[in-house]
Each structure stands twice: as C-alpha cells, then as structure tokens.
C-alpha cells in the first residue's frame, strides 16, 4: 500500500510541476507587462479578464462556438475520409504506386494558399473554413493510416485468412485494430492542424469565428480583446488534446503492455 501511495504522490508531484511552468510564465508575463506599461502589451490578468468576458458574452455564440463546431466537423470529415482512403491505399500496393506522387504534391501545398480558392467556391462562411481544414488535416491521418496498414505483419494477415476473415470483416477486425496505434498518432497531429487551419482560414475570410474576432480586434486596436482570443484558442487546443488523449488511452488500452507503457504527454 505504501508503494501505491508513493506512486500516487509522485504522479501528483509531476502534474503539479507541469502546471508550475505555466504559472511561472503567467507571472513573468504579468511582471514584464506591468514594467513596460503599454496598451499594446496588456498584462496577464487583463487578458484573462478579456477572455472571460468573451466566453460569458455574446461572442461565445457568434464566434467561439462556431469555431469549435467547424474544427470538430473538419476534423471528423478528415478522419473518416483519411482512415478509409489510408486503409485502402495501405493494403493495396497498386493503389500506393498510383497515388504516391499525387499525394506528395497535394500535401505540399501550403494551406493558406487554398483559402482564396475556397472562398471563391464556398463564399465567406463556415463551409469554407471546414473545407480548408479538411485539405490540411486529412494528410497526417491518411499517411499514418496507410503506413500502419502496409506495415502489418504478414503472419497476422495469414492468421486472419486462416480464420476465414476477408473483405470488410478482415478490415474491421484485423487491419484497423492492427494499424490503430499509427492511426491515432495521425489523428492527434490532425487535431492540432485542424485548430491552426481553422484560425488561419477565419482570419483570411471566415466572416465569423474566433480567428475572425482576433484579427478584427487587433485591427480595431482592441488589443486586450485579441489577447483574450489567443488565450481562448490556447485553452481550446489544450482541451481538445486532453480529451483526445483520454479517448486514445481508452481505445489503445491493450497496447500499454506491448510497447512498455504509453508515452506520457
């Protein structure tokens, strides 16, 4: 029991130390901003107050919630299309040969360049933001899924065939779980990409959303407002990633022992 207790305490200590870094940064920010004393560099507390005001005011409904919705929708579409295509491409060597160069080309396109095109196609609205997210977030998912699928042990596929698994059941019961550690790695990258692209697309032509709000606030000299927006974005990123990790740990619980423990993040 003492061991378990000690383990619990050291975990608690580790978490506290992790948060301590954040506190140090906040204090340093506060001191520096107070010392400089310029409106273009609001203090930490001013920014926090601005962020709270955004979350409790009408901006929540008009900008923050739409941004969250777009990010999630863009991410989910990327995941569905990326995993499906990745499984097929990873499993089929011919498909890999045919798509390799095309995908290398497409995924090298800088996403912000696609915003003007997306605006022409979809207009200044949420659909444009979602479409832009998909063009960027799909790649880490697709490529990780394809890599995970193509590197499945031949013995594992042989075993599956021995038990009569083919077609859909082969994919769902063997290929997908076998590739899932790599798929999850791709999904996690894609989630943070989704958030970044959401902000960029909204800044360049969203018409609404947290990115749109931040660039608007900055242009109208509402500096503390834009800092508040940045704090909300950072919190969103942290919340998304934390929720994702909880989900991942649940789904990949079986993997814990096979790779000598999951990497803590």
């Amino acid at each position: 029991m003492a061991g378990a207790n000690q383990k619990g305490r050291s975990a608690l200590l580790r978490i506290s130390l992790g948060w301590l870094g954040l506190v140090v940064l906040a204090v340093a920010w506060q001191l520096a901003a107070t010392a400089i004393g310029k409106t273009i560099f609001p203090t930490f507390t001013t920014s926090i107050v601005a962020a709270v005001r955004l979350v409790t005011g009408h901006i929540l409904v008009s900008d923050i919630l739409p941004s969250i919705g777009r990010t999630i929708l863009g991410f989910v579409i990327s995941a569905i299309v990326g995993i499906t295509a990745g499984l097929i491409i990873g499993y089929n060597e011919n498909a890999r040969t045919w798509t390799g160069t095309l995908f290398d080309f497409l995924r090298s396109l800088p996403t912000p360049l696609l915003v003007p095109i997306a605006v022409v196609i979809f207009g200044i609205n949420g659909h444009m933001v979602i479409a832009t997210i998909v063009t960027a977030a799909i790649w880490p998912i697709l490529i990780n899924t394809a890599n995970g699928t193509s590197s499945i042990e031949p013995t594992m596929l042989d075993t599956a065939k021995t038990y009569g698994l083919r077609g859909k059941s082969l994919f769902l019961r063997v290929v997908l779980p076998a590739a899932s550690p790599q798929i999850f790695a791709g999904l996690r990258i894609a989630l943070s990409v989704s958030l970044v692209v959401m902000v960029v697309a909204e800044m360049l032509g969203g018409g609404s959303g947290i990115g749109y709000y931040i660039s608007n606030a900055q242009q109208s000299f509402n500096i503390s407002g834009s800092y508040g927006g940045v704090i909300i974005l950072a919190s969103l990123g942290w919340i998304f990633d934390s929720l994702f990790l909880v989900f991942e740990r649940r789904m990949l619980a079986w993997q814990r022992g096979t790779v000598g423990g999951m990497i803590d993040a």
């Binding site: 042990e153 013995t155 594992m156 021995t162 009569g164 779980p177 993997q255 096979t258």
Partner: protein, 266 residues
C-alpha cells in the same frame, strides 16, 4: 495410401521477385497424410519449408501440382485445417484477450457452444483462468499454448505447424512438445509439422520427410517406429531414437551441403 486426409501431389511453388525473376522454391513435392498421422518435414534452413506449408494449407496458390484436403482440391484455407505459426507474438492479436483470440478459431459456432469450446481448449493447454488476460501478460510458452488452443478449438482434421517451438527456450520447448503430443493422442487429427529441429521431428512423428535444398524436393522419407506413448526422458534415451536421429540428421546435412550459397528467405 487409402483416402489420405491431405494429399499433396507434385507440388511446385515459384516466387516472382520484384525484378521479375522467377525463383523456384519447391519442385515436385509429393506427400500424403493419413488420418491421425504425425508427419514432420525437416530440411536445411532456407529450403522452402515455410513456403511448402503455406501452399499445403491454401494460404498460397501453388504454381504447379495439386493439394487436396479430404478429397477436394483446396483454393483457400479450408475449415478443418488449422495453422500454428512460429511467431506467436505476431499471430495472436494483441488487442484481443486470450479468450477472444481463441474464440477467433471458433467463429463458426453459436455463442454458447463457442464459449464452452474456448473454455475446453484453454483447459486442454493448461491456460484455464487466463481467458481475460492479454497476450503480453503471458510468457512466450504460454502465448504459444494459447495459439495452440486457438488452432484446436475448431476441432480440426489437420493441424499444421510452422516451427512451432522455435521461439521458446529448451525447457519450454520440451513441455510444448508434450502438450501437442497429448492433444494429438487424445484426438483423431493429423499433424503436418515443419521444423529444423531433427530431434523434435523424430520424437513426435510417425514419418519424417527430409527436403533438399532449393528448389526443394523430398530427399528421403524415414519411418519412425518408436513405441508410443513416448516421453522426453525415456524415448530420447532409446538406442533406436539415437539411430533414427542420426539417420535423419545425416540426410539433412547431405541436403545442406548442396545448398551452400543458396539464399535463405526464412
């Protein structure tokens, strides 16, 4: 032989490499497996034993010849043939518990029957109480026993094993050999085992086939007339065992001498 369970006739397997070069792996292999017979195939490493087993089980299409199971030519792995692979850690599904892994082999049965069979199979290999564990929680020998339970749960006519005990330590290997032997003694299935361990082949088998180097053909067939039941302590001490082992070993060495310079793919 009258009505063999497995009938391999003039089997030929060629592998086409990436640059289009056709590599003949086995040539003209003929082998019959009677009901409740234990047959081993030994040969120098890289001689195509695994390829032979893959073609014999239906995992790979042969480029020539024919494999029949219960009188019917096979085009895929038929129900009634189970396979145990050397690498249990790549063959057991790591995301499934031991119980669910074993249940994979019993997919054809309704749920209640499946559950009973999984329980029985685990008990037979001495893994009762491990159904809810994951493969990584078990030792190598226990994992291979789980793979064996998965192969046995469907009550197969033929059990094929590819170097089944090559990845465990010597003591565990002896134990696993006896687990297989007692399963086989208590049941009616036939075994086709591929191994490079001559002693193991002699200890377990009714007949041992020696494969030549690539393109491999059957170099010798040696009948193992050791009395059954056999035991590690008693049988391996017998003069007859030592003689037979020496005879098989001699043929394998002979095959190996001709294979110097042949690349190995296994």
């Amino acid at each position: 032989m009258l009505n063999p369970v497995l009938d391999i006739k003039n089997l030929e397997v060629s592998i086409r490499s990436r640059d289009g070069f056709v590599n003949e792996v086995t040539k003209n292999v003929t082998l019959e497996l009677a009901e409740h017979e234990f047959v081993s195939v030994v040969g120098p490493s890289g001689c195509g034993k695994t390829t032979l087993l893959r073609a014999a089980s239906g995992l790979r299409m042969p480029s020539g010849g024919k494999v029949s199971f219960e009188g019917k030519p096979i085009t895929e792995v038929p129900q009634g043939i189970s396979i145990v692979f050397q690498e249990y850690n790549k063959s057991l599904f790591p995301w499934l518990t031991i119980g669910k892994n074993v249940a994979m082999g019993a997919r054809a049965y309704p749920n209640a029957e499946k559950e009973r069979r999984v329980g029985d199979a685990l008990e037979q290999v001495g893994l009762k109480g491990f159904a809810t564990r994951y493969p990584w929680e078990l030792s190598g020998g226990m994992q291979q026993r789980a793979a064996l339970a998965r192969a046995m749960v469907s009550n197969p006519r033929v059990l094929m094993m590819d170097e089944p005990f090559a990845s465990v330590d010597a003591l565990t290997r002896n134990h696993l050999e006896d687990v297989v032997q007692s399963l086989w003694t208590d049941s009616r299935f036939s075994v086709l085992m591929v191994t490079h361990d001559v002693g193991e082949a002699v200890y377990l088998s009714d007949r041992v086939f020696v494969l030549s180097a690539r393109p491999s053909t059957i170099l010798a067939e040696i009948k193992i007339d050791l009395p059954r039941p056999r035991s590690q302590m008693e049988t391996r001490k017998m003069l007859r065992f030592v003689d037979l082992q020496a005879e098989v070993l001699e043929r394998v060495e002979e095959a190996g001498r001709n294979s110097v310079g042949t690349e190995a793919d296994e």
